[in-house]
Symmetry: C2
Subunit: 380 residues, 2 copies
C-alpha cells in the first residue's frame, strides 16, 4: 500500500522511535513519579528529559509547564476548558478542527461564552488585523490552527502573537498539523498555550502535550499526582496538577524521541516535503478537471477534487489502486463551508519524510486515468 494519509497518522515510524518503545518496555516501564525506588526514579528522569526536549523544541523556558496528554485533542480540551471565562468571548478561525469547534460549542452551552470564527484573506491567511477586528470587550482568548489539516495553509503565528500580547489576550496555537514541519518559539511568538500531536509530523505514536506559558488553567481530570496524597484537593502545581493518573511513559518517551528525530533531520525533512509537495501540486494542476486547494509546499498537505466525482469516490478508486488517502471533511467543517466543498468533500494527499517520489508519480498516473474516464463519460 502506498500510504499518503500522513496527516491522519504517519504510518512509517523511524527506527529510533520504535527502538525507544522497545527500550522503554524493557528498562523504564515502572511508574514514573510515584514510588521512591531506583526504577521509578529512572522512569521519572526519562519523563523529565522528555519535558525538556519538548520545552526546548518549542522555545518554552520552564519545562515543568510541559503537560503530557493522551492526544492533541485532549491538549486542546485542557486549554479551552481549563482557561474558560464564563460569559467571555473567544476568537478562533474557520480553519479550526472539531477538537476546537466542538469544545467551543460545549463552552457556549455550559459557560455561556460566545465565539467568532475569523475568515482568511484571498491568500488563505489569517492576518493579525482580521483577528483584531473580531475583538470584543470580553474577548480573553485567541485560538489559531497553525497549519490547516485541510488546505495546508500556515498562519503567521509570530504576528498574531504580537497582537495578542499587545492586547493582553491569551493565545492558544494548535500545532497538530504543523508539528515537525514549522518552527515556533513560545516566548518570542507570545504563545500562551501550544497543543502538540505525537503521531503526525513527529513520527511517533499517539501522545499529546500542552505547553503553557504565563497562565494558570484548571485540570480536565482529577486524581493521583504522586504529590500531597493526603489532600483531597487537586494540587495546582504544574505539571502534576494537570496530569492526574500514571504518565504513559512508553508514549511520552516515544514522542520525545520523535521530536529529537525531527530536529536532527530538520533540513532534510523540510527539503524533501517541499520538493515532493511542489511536484504533486504542479502535476495535479495539469490534470483536467482537477481543482487544487493547497499552495503551501512546506506543509505536505495537498487537497483537491476532480469534477464529476465526490471525494469519497476518488479515495475509493485510489484505495483499489493501493493508494491510501483521506476524503470527506477531515473533521474541519467550517473551512469546507468557506470553500464550498462541504457536499463532496476534498481528497487529501498528505506526505511524510518517508514518502517516495515514485509513490506520487503513481498517484498522478492513477488520477490522470480517472480524470480521462470523466472526460470520456462527459463526451458520451
Amino acid at each position: 500500500m502506498i500510504y499518503l494519509d500522513n496527516s491522519s497518522s504517519t504510518f512509517q515510524k523511524p527506527f529510533c522511535v520504535k527502538h525507544s518503545i522497545k527500550k522503554t518496555l524493557n528498562k523504564y516501564a515502572a511508574n514514573p513519579g510515584r514510588s521512591g525506588h531506583k526504577l521509578s526514579l529512572l522512569a521519572g528522569e526519562k519523563v523529565l528529559e522528555a519535558r525538556m526536549t519538548l520545552a526546548n523544541h518549542f522555545g518554552l523556558k520552564d519545562f515543568t509547564n510541559v503537560i503530557f496528554t493522551a492526544s492533541c485533542t485532549e491538549a486542546l480540551n485542557l486549554a479551552l476548558q481549563g482557561s474558560v471565562q464564563p460569559h467571555g468571548h473567544i476568537i478562533a478561525t474557520i480553519y479550526e478542527h472539531n477538537s476546537v469547534l466542538r469544545t467551543l460549542e460545549y463552552l457556549k452551552k455550559t459557560y455561556h461564552i460566545t465565539y467568532t470564527l475569523v475568515t482568511p484573506n484571498a491568500n488563505g491567511i489569517i492576518t493579525p488585523d482580521r483577528i483584531l477586528s473580531a475583538k470584543q470587550p470580553n474577548t480573553y482568548l485567541v485560538v489559531v490552527n497553525h497549519t490547516s489539516n485541510v488546505t495546508g495553509h500556515t498562519q503567521p503565528i509570530h504576528e498574531i502573537g504580537a497582537v495578542c500580547h499587545e492586547h493582553n489576550l491569551l493565545f492558544l496555537v494548535d500545532t497538530a498539523q504543523s508539528g515537525g514541519h514549522e518552527r515556533l518559539n513560545m516566548e518570542k511568538d507570545h504563545i500562551s498555550m501550544l497543543a502538540v500531536a505525537g503521531h503526525k509530523g513527529f513520527h511517533s505514536i499517539q501522545c499529546g502535550a500542552l505547553l503553557i506559558q504565563d497562565c494558570k488553567i484548571k485540570p480536565l481530570k482529577y486524581g493521583g499526582t504522586g504529590t500531597n496524597s493526603i489532600s483531597l484537593t487537586q494540587p495546582t502545581d504544574y505539571p502534576e496538577g494537570l496530569e492526574s493518573g500514571t504518565d504513559s511513559i512508553v508514549n511520552i518517551i516515544a514522542l520525545a524521541t520523535g521530536v529529537k528525530f525531527v530536529e536532527r533531520k530538520w533540513n532534510d525533512i523540510h527539503q524533501k516535503i517541499t520538493n515532493l509537495t511542489q511536484y504533486t501540486l504542479t502535476h495535479l494542476s495539469k490534470i483536467p478537471n482537477c481543482i487544487v486547494y493547497s499552495t503551501n509546499a512546506n506543509s505536505g498537505v495537498i487537497s483537491f477534487c476532480i469534477k464529476g466525482y465526490t471525494s469519497t469516490e476518488i479515495a475509493s478508486y485510489l484505495n483499489q489502486k493501493h493508494i491510501a488517502v483521506r476524503s470527506g471533511l477531515h473533521c474541519a467543517p467550517k473551512i469546507h463551508e468557506y470553500l464550498g466543498t462541504t457536499k463532496n468533500g476534498l481528497v487529501r494527499v498528505s506526505l511524510s519524510y518517508f514518502t517516495h517520489k515514485t509513490d506520487l508519480m503513481y498517484l498522478i498516473h492513477c488520477l490522470k486515468t480517472l480524470s480521462k474516464k470523466t472526460l470520456l463519460f462527459q463526451k458520451n
Copy 2:
C-alpha cells in the same frame, strides 16, 4: 532490582504484549476509524477486536459500550463527571483512590453534590447493608473500589450490585487493582460503569477503559470522532461520542493482548499470586514489630509497617538492598486515616505473575535484618 511494586505498574510485560506493540507499529499504525482506505480499516478492525475482548472479559453484552481512555483515572473521571447529577448524593468508600476522592471534591464544589464515604466491617469488608445505610433520597450513584491498592481487601461487588439494582442506583466499580486478579460480570453483577487499568494486573502499558451498561453519560473531551464531521455538536453515540481524538492504537491493542494473556493464564496467575502472597503474609507475621494490614491472598497486595520506622525509611532501606516497593499513602488517604497509618504510611509489597519466590525470600531476609536493628536500638 527485585521489583515488588506491581500495584503501581507491572514492570515485566509478557512477550505477547511486547510483540503486539511491535506488530502494531509495523502493521496497524494508521488512524483507526478515520479514513476509508485498507490500512485505516484494518486499524479500525483491530480496535473493534480489542473492544470485544474487553466486553467479553467483563461480561458486557454491547462491545460498542467499551470506551477507551488514556488511563483508569480518566475512566473514573469520565464516569463521575459524565454522570453527575447536580445537588445529588454519591456513596463511595474509604478505600477510594484520589482519582475518585479528588473528583468527588471537584463535583462537590462545582455541581454541589454531597458524598458519604462508607467504612468497612471488622474484616475490612464493605457490606451491602453499610452501603444502604448511607442512602439518601437524592443518592444516584454508588462507587466502590473493587480491591484496595493499600490493603488488598476485595469487596463483594455482586452483592452490592444487587442492592444498587434494587434501589435503582448507578453502580461504578474501580477495577484498577483487581483487574487480572478477580472476575466480574457486568450483567450479572449489575455494574453500570466499570473502570479498567491496563498497566497493572493486565500486564500491559498505560491504557484505560470505561465499560458502560444501560446508562448515558456526557463526554470529558470534545472533538473529532470520524462521524458526522459537519456537525459542531458532539455525537452522542457510543463509543465515538466519548472517544474524541485519534484512538491510541498501540496502547489499545496492547491492553487487549494483556487481557487475553490473563485469560489464558488465569488459573496459573491465581495460584501463583495466592501462594506467594500467603508465603509473604505468613513470614511477615513472624517478624518482630511488623504489623501486617493485608489478609487477601488473591490480591497480591501486602501492606505492613515495622515499629520504629516510617514506611519511607523501610522502602529506602529496601531500595538500597535492590528491592523496589512503595511507601507512603498510595494516593488513598482515607483508608490510612481509618487505619491510623497516615503519619508513617505503609510499605506496600505488590506481586505479579512474574514474581519469584526467591524474591520474597530475600525480602523477608532483609526485613528480618532491619527489624533486628530496631530491637538492638531499643535495647540500647
